[in-house]
C-alpha cells in the first residue's frame, strides 16, 4: 500500500515525422497508471472501507440477533397455549403456523430476485468497468429491480395470435411453482427449515426437474421458432445435466448416511485437529471433484452462462421467453434466480457445512449468517462465470456432459466408497 498520490502527467506534444503533425505522445483514455496501485487512490481506499464497514456491520447485526431457528419452538408453544386458551382447535393452530412458515418460504425467492438481479447487474457492470444502476433508489440503484418489477407489472400482456393460449398462460406458472416448492426441505440455518423431511435431497431434485416442463411448454406454445428451439435445447440440456448433478451428491449422501439436507449439513460440524472444518469439500479428492461437478451441473441446470444456450441472445432472440411480455416474463426471471439461490443453498449445505463456521473462533455468529454468506459467495461465482466464460456450442455442451462430467461423477461415486472403507 503506497501513500503517494498520482500526479497527472503533463504531456508535451511531439512532432510526428510520418504525417507532419503535432501529436500527443500518450493519448490513452484509460488512466492505466492508477491501476498499477489502486490502493493509492483515495476513492479506492474509501470504497474498501465502506465494504469492510458493511461486512462488519452486517456481522454485528447478525451477532446481535443471534440464532433464530431454536427460538421458533418456544414462540410456537406460547402461541399455541394462547390460542388453546381461547378454544381454537389444535389442528387449526398447526395449519396457521404452517401457512405463516409458507409465506416466509414464498418470500425467499421473491426477495432473492429483488436482491440478486440488482447484484448481478452491479457485478456485471463492475466486471466490464462500468458502474451499473446508479440513479434509481437511494443507494447505488438499490431499488432498480423494484422499478423494473412495477414497470413489467404494468406492461401490456401480449399473447401472440398463433400461440396455444392455455399452455402459453400456464407455462410461467408451471415454471414458478416448483421453483417455490423446492425450497421446502432446504435449510436456511439451524432449525430454520420449512419441512424437515428425510428424503429432502430426492425431493429437491424431483421437484426441481418439473420446471423443465414449463420451459418446454413456453417454447412450444409461443408459436415462434426461436421459442421452440430454445425450449428444446433447454429440455435436452436440463435432462442431461440432471444426471451428473445427482451423481455428484451421491458420495456426500454415502458419507453422511442420510438424505435429509439439514442432517447432511449438521454432519459436517466440528473440526479436524481443531482447525480444518469437517466439510465435505475438504474430504480428499472425492469432495473437491464432487463439488466441481455439482457446481458445473448447477450452472447448466439454471440456464446461465456459459450454458445459456436456451436463451442465447446471438442465436435465438431470447429463447423460450421470446414471446413473453410483462409479468409473465418477470415470473420466468424470478424462477431462474430462485434456482440459482437453490443451487447455492444446496452447495452450502452439501459441501460447505451449512451453518458451521469456517474457523472455531468464529462460532459466535449465528448459523443463518454463515449460511447466507456462503450462499452469497457461491452466487457471486455464478455471476463471475457469466462474464468469464464464452457460451458453449450445443453439441460441445452435450459432449462435455456425457463424455466428461458423467464418467467423472460415476468414478467419483466409486472413489467415495473407497474413502468410506478407508475411514472406517
Amino acid at each position: 500500500m503506497t501513500e503517494e498520490t498520482i500526479q497527472p502527467k503533463v504531456l508535451e506534444p511531439v512532432f510526428n515525422h510520418a504525417n507532419g503533425r503535432l501529436l500527443m505522445p500518450e493519448t490513452r483514455y484509460w488512466p492505466t497508471d492508477m491501476w498499477k496501485s489502486p490502493w493509492s487512490l483515495p476513492t479506492y481506499r474509501r470504497g474498501a472501507a465502506v465494504l469492510a464497514g458493511l461486512i462488519l456491520g452486517i456481522a454485528g447485526v447478525a451477532w446481535f440477533i443471534g440464532e433464530i431457528g431454536p427460538r421458533l419452538a418456544p414462540i410456537y408453544s406460547l402461541a399455541e397455549q394462547f390460542a388453546l386458551s381461547y378454544g381454537v382447535p389444535a389442528f387449526w393452530i398447526a395449519v396457521v403456523w404452517t401457512f405463516i412458515k409458507g409465506v416466509f418460504v414464498l418470500l425467499a425467492p421473491a426477495l432473492n430476485a429483488l436482491f440478486a438481479v440488482w447484484w448481478e447487474r452491479k457485478i456485471s457492470a463492475h466486471i466490464q468497468s462500468r458502474m451499473g444502476p446508479m440513479y434509481v433508489g437511494w443507494w447505488h440503484g438499490a431499488l432498480q429491480t423494484l422499478a423494473d418489477g412495477i414497470k413489467l407489472f404494468l406492461k401490456e400482456d401480449i399473447v401472440p395470435e398463433c400461440a396455444d393460449k392455455v399452455v402459453h398462460w400456464l407455462a410461467p406458472v408451471v415454471v414458478l411453482i416448483p421453483a417455490i416448492l423446492v425450497f421446502a426441505p432446504v435449510p436456511f440455518g439451524k432449525d430454520l427449515i420449512y419441512a424437515n423431511i428425510d428424503i429432502g435431497t430426492v425431493y429437491v431434485f424431483a421437484v426441481g426437474g418439473v420446471s423443465v416442463m414449463g420451459i418446454i411448454m413456453a417454447g412450444w406454445s409461443s408459436g415462434n421458432k426461436f421459442s421452440l428451439l430454445g425450449g428444446l435445447r433447454s429440455a435436452a440440456q436440463l435432462v442431461s445435466y440432471e444426471l451428473p448433478r445427482t451423481f455428484a451428491v451421491l458420495p456426500v449422501i454415502m458419507l453422511a448416511g442420510t438424505l435429509n439436507i439439514a442432517e447432511i449439513a449438521g454432519f459436517q460440524a466440528g473440526y479436524w485437529g481443531g482447525i480444518v472444518p469437517r466439510w465435505f469439500i475438504f474430504y480428499p479428492v472425492v469432495g473437491q471433484v464432487a463439488f466441481i461437478v455439482f457446481l458445473i451441473a448447477s450452472v447448466a441446470e439454471t440456464n446461465r452462462v456459459p450454458f445459456d444456450i436456451p436463451e442465447a441472445e446471438s442465436e435465438l432472440v431470447a429463447g423460450f421467453n421470446t414471446e413473453y411480455s410483462g409479468m409473465k416474463f418477470a415470473l420466468f426471471f424470478l424462477s431462474e434466480f430462485a434456482y440459482v439461490l437453490l443451487s447455492c443453498l444446496l452447495m452450502a449445505s452439501f459441501f460447505f457445512g451449512g451453518g458451521a463456521a469456517p474457523l472455531p473462533f468464529l462460532d459466535f455468529l449465528p448459523s443463518w449468517a454463515w449460511f447466507l454468506s456462503k450462499t452469497l459467495i457461491l452466487m457471486f461465482c455464478f455471476l463471475w462465470f457469466r462474464w468469464t466464460f464464452p457460451r458453449f456450442r450445443v453439441d460441445r455442451l452435450m459432449d462435455f456432459n456425457w463424455k466428461f462430467l458423467l464418467p467423472v461423477s460415476l468414478i467419483n461415486i466409486a472413489a467415495g466408497g473407497i474413502l468410506i472403507w478407508l475411514l472406517s
Binding site: 466490464q128 458502474m131 406492461k155 421467453n321
Partner: protein, 181 residues
Amino acid sequence: MGIVLDNLSKIEALPGGGIALATSDELINWARTSSVWPLTFGLACCAIEMMAAYASRFDFERMGVFPRPTPRQADVMFVAGTVAKKMADPIIRIYKQMPEPKFVIAMGGCANCGGPFYDSYAVVKGVDKIIPVDVYLPGCPPRPEALMYAVIKLQEKMRKMTVKGGHGATPLQGTGSRKLT
C-alpha cells in the same frame, strides 16, 4: 394495455379515487422512467454510437437502461440509422410487437428526415412516416451523450403521463398505435 392499467382508471369513480390515482401516477411514472428497456436493434452507423452508450465510457445502465433482445420485453425503440424502404416493413412489425406503453426515439439525421439520403430512391424520409416518434435526436451520428439526453427527454415525457381516464400509455392511446398500417 395491461389488465392493471385498463382497470386502474375505474378507481377514479370511487371516493378518494382521484388522490389514489395521483399517488399511483407518481409510483408508476417513477417505475417507468427508472427502467427504460430499449430494443437491441440498430440499422446503420448510429447503432455504433448506441453501442458505445451502453459500454463502459458512458454506461447507459446507470439510468436503468437495459437492452432486451426481444420486442416483447422492450419499452423503447431507438431507430438508430437510415431506414431503407426494404427495412420499413420489419420496423413497423417490430413496433407492433412491442407492448404498450411503447416509445420511439428517432436517432440521427437519417431517422429524422432522411438525412444525407434525402434524395434517394430507397430511403424512407424520416421514420415518423411509418411509426409515431416521441423524441427526435439530431446529429450524424449523435454522440452517446446526446442519446442519453434523448432518453432524459423521454423520461420527462413519461412523467407527464397519467392513468386518469385511461391515458396511461403513449399519446397514441386514443387512436391505438397498434392499428397503424
